[in-house]
Symmetry: C2
Subunit: 316 residues, 2 copies
């Protein structure tokens, strides 16, 4: 079976571990958000691709939620003493090696798809990781800061301000010109099922869908599309989607996000929508199922995925 | 007093500690070789500038002879597992922070002189460190390797092959087009005394002198020029000058190097030449003095410098 998954960072990563556990031997492709990417200290950093890669490889720091297990911060401390800005981004030593390899390959002319494949030769994630686009496309956040209306990089808003600065809008710089990564479109078109991971609907899934052709590919895919709500009991399971959804006028609820994605029969994304068993939601044209959505381990995540696949199977 | 010193890496660094100790309050400028510079893993690395900077700041690893005290190698190990070549260059974690700051500033358009000054704001070496040139100029070594005549980067020859591969010639790529750093020429012209550190006469001092205008500035300087032999008892005190001198037809001896540099009265570099007290040398037109040349600590090095300054004073 061919499975395509739209995914952001941590939530997407844990969900993908569930997909891999539920579907051994199947051909799984993750189309990963790159709108969070940023160049800092001359290093090209792809937080979502790395979160997914490290988590699937089992070398992620599960407690911190991002980055490598056993990470150290020697270089970051040095950069801070040198006065090299910014100092608010946590750059781990092990992580920097990944960024050095990536930056050097990109500078040498390789595409981000090629670079990601090369990095994955080491990590063997068991899932094909594909950036949504090989083109640079970075989310900025319109905020009011120091008396002025400014666009700051998503990472500055997310990490430095902990998403605590009211966002007026999200602007994906470069998104209009970004072409989908060839393998991303191909995976969605060829899939037997398309899954939408419980990632941030605005700055992860929303950004992926904003790349020319990707939304259309999902909407018109031959395969059924089943999504998983990142919102449980009116709050994000992880991350800060509650700071993002109101900005685009979407209710912070499983129903709100389901309706925002919409039914494929009405030009939306979804055929099926998984919500947490204590939630309820009505999304016209979409098969909504309430099941336990907590991904405390791979078994939990795999159980979720099996239900999603059952829905897909019934719809196919 | 204004003192200009031509210097390579470790030998130059220890000598400069002596100059600083012997001349408190004086205006000391080190014109440092950059022919050993190299870009690896996308990082711009300036081994001699860093050796001098770290050593003057007292954060160098005295036992290893190069790099930072308390260094770790986490990133290098990661790069090796990633299969990122080359793996033979020792890139320390603390050191990488320096390279990241330098690379980013160079990419942003700052000159190497500016970058070096910025790095030195942290380290306060007490000596103005000036690269011989802001232009890229890298020494390559002509060798026979795997059945072919090849030019390999100096660092590959020096570090990977431990200078053990017979060198046919040294070629300073970019040297013909390299302009001297403005502060380098200015320091030599304005100096009350010019000192030539006991650095490698071929790939350190020789490279500095190869930059257009620097040899002339030394030869025609108003100030006396006193050099210190890097060769004691027919062998280099440190480094591998014995693998370099024969390549350019110079005898590995204090006299050989002294005669290679030559007397200023005959279009050469030197007015005075310090050799070790167990050596003897005759260099026509040059005041040769035999004194203890071992730089086991700053006091030893300062004593050497005081003799050099006495010679200069007598000649001035």
């Amino acid at each position: 079976m061919k499975i395509a998954v739209l995914a952001g960072g941590i939530g997407g990563a844990r969900f993908l571990r569930g997909v891999r556990a539920a579907c051994p031997g199947d051909d799984i492709t993750a189309v990963v958000n790159t709108g969070d990417d940023v160049t800092l200290h001359g290093l090209r950093i792809c937080p979502d691709l790395d979160s997914v890669m490290y988590t699937l490889a089992g070398v992620h720091d599960g407690e911190r939620g991002w980055g490598r297990k056993g990470e150290t911060w020697r270089i970051k401390e040095e950069l801070t003493v040198y006065g090299a800005e910014p100092t608010w981004f946590q750059l781990g030593d092990l992580d920097i090696a990944t960024h050095l390899v990536r930056t050097r390959m990109l500078d040498a002319g390789f595409s981000l798809s090629d670079v990601t494949a090369a990095l994955c030769e080491r990590w063997q994630p068991g899932v094909s990781l594909v950036p949504m686009s090989d083109d640079r496309c970075e989310t900025h956040v319109i905020v009011h800061l120091e008396g002025a209306r400014r666009a700051i990089h998503f990472q500055e808003w997310w990490v430095k301000h902990r998403a605590g600065l009211p966002a007026e809008a999200f602007v994906q710089v470069g998104l209009d010109e970004a072409a989908p990564a060839p393998a991303a479109l191909a995976a969605i078109s060829a899939a037997d099922v398309v899954l939408v991971a419980p990632s941030n609907p605005v700055v992860s899934i929303g950004t992926i869908l904003g790349v020319a052709g990707i939304r259309d590919a999902v909407v018109t895919a031959a395969a059924p599309v089943v999504g998983v709500s990142p919102i449980v009991a009116g709050a994000p399971v992880r991350g800060m989607a509650d700071a993002c959804l109101p900005v685009i006028g979407v209710d912070v609820s499983a129903e709100g996000v389901g309706r925002h994605y919409g039914a494929r029969s009405a030009g939306g994304l979804l055929d099926g929508w998984l919500i947490h068993d204590t939630d309820s939601a009505t999304v016209p044209g979409v098969d909504v199922r309430a099941i336990p959505l907590m991904m405390t381990d791979d078994d939990d995540a795999a159980a979720m995925v099996r239900v999603a696949l059952e829905i897909a199977d019934a719809l196919a």
